[in-house]
């Protein structure tokens, strides 16, 4: 039988509170973000409560992302913008920070060094 590479994407949402006391949903990515990650990633995104406007993407456990994965992130950001959500990001390696800036993604989600800084960055 031929070998099928393992699907290596996990994602889940943690609900936290920002310094100003408002609700923040943190979408945490683990493993790979590629074209095969769509269902896992959008599935997890559904767990952000309908009335939450503040979303954080946690890339600190991401191991591999390719350009299809970046396209997925763009689609997530489009979905977020349609419901007036603001997305802050943290945990990208220096390499992927560079890649995000190369494609211009930092115009649509600010890149922060850690979760505290990301959560504190929402304007009220």
């Amino acid at each position: 039988m031929t070998m099928q590479p393992q699907l290596n994407t996990r994602a889940h949402v943690d609900k936290v509170t920002s310094p100003d006391g408002s609700a923040v949903s943190v979408l945490r990515f683990t493993g790979d973000i590629t074209s095969t990650s769509r269902d896992v990633v959008f599935g997890a995104y559904q767990d952000v409560p309908a009335d939450t406007r503040k979303v954080v993407f946690d890339f600190s456990k991401m191991e591999y992302m390719n350009s299809s994965g970046i396209a997925l992130i763009i689609e997530l950001l489009m979905a977020a913008s349609k419901t007036d959500r603001t997305v802050q990001s943290f945990g990208l390696s220096p390499h992927f920070q560079k890649v995000f800036i190369m494609v211009g993604l930092n115009k649509y989600t600010s890149l922060h060094p850690d979760e505290a800084t990301a959560c504190a960055a929402f304007a009220d």
Binding site: Q6, S67, G104
Partner: protein, 147 residues
């Protein structure tokens, strides 16, 4: 005159998504052996992955009877990586991705692979092989720091 023997590493991979990660590891091993710094190795790995994904997807159209080739040629201070597939290559000129147009749904979210390859390595070139397949040629130099 001394016959110079080029140091080359050759890799052959199935046309299946996921195997680009094997190419990344191999390329990283070769670049590390040559003394490239970590950040340049990351650049190369991403560029090689994107070229392999395109070879698997657009070149060989996921045909598992076909494989893709990766040839890593080491020369003094530079590493050239050729990624080969059995397809007929590029048919149209690509525009660089525009994030605003993507975010407004005016162009598809995808279409960043070739842009990234060009942005991450010192040279990126699309040509044909003598056998009629597609060949992407990537090159990084030891002395040049990516800014």
């Amino acid at each position: 005159m001394v016959q110079e023997i080029a140091s080359a590493v050759e890799l052959r991979l199935p046309s299946k998504l996921g195997f680009e990660k094997v190419a990344m590891q191999t390329a990283s091993g070769v670049a590390r052996l040559m003394g490239f710094p970590d950040d340049r190795i990351e650049d190369l790995k991403t560029a090689v992955a994107e070229a392999c994904i395109n070879a698997i997807e657009h070149g060989n159209r996921f045909d598992e009877r076909l494989s893709i080739g990766v040839v890593l040629s080491m020369e003094d201070g530079k590493l050239e990586v050729k990624i080969l597939d059995s397809g007929s290559g590029l048919h149209k000129k690509m525009n660089p991705p525009n994030i605003d147009r993507k975010m407004h749904g005016e162009e598809q979210a995808r279409g960043m692979g070739m842009f990234l390859m060009q942005a991450l390595v010192d040279e990126a070139e699309w040509t044909q092989t003598p056998h009629g397949g597609n060949c992407v040629r990537l090159m990084i130099r030891l002395d040049k720091e990516e800014e």
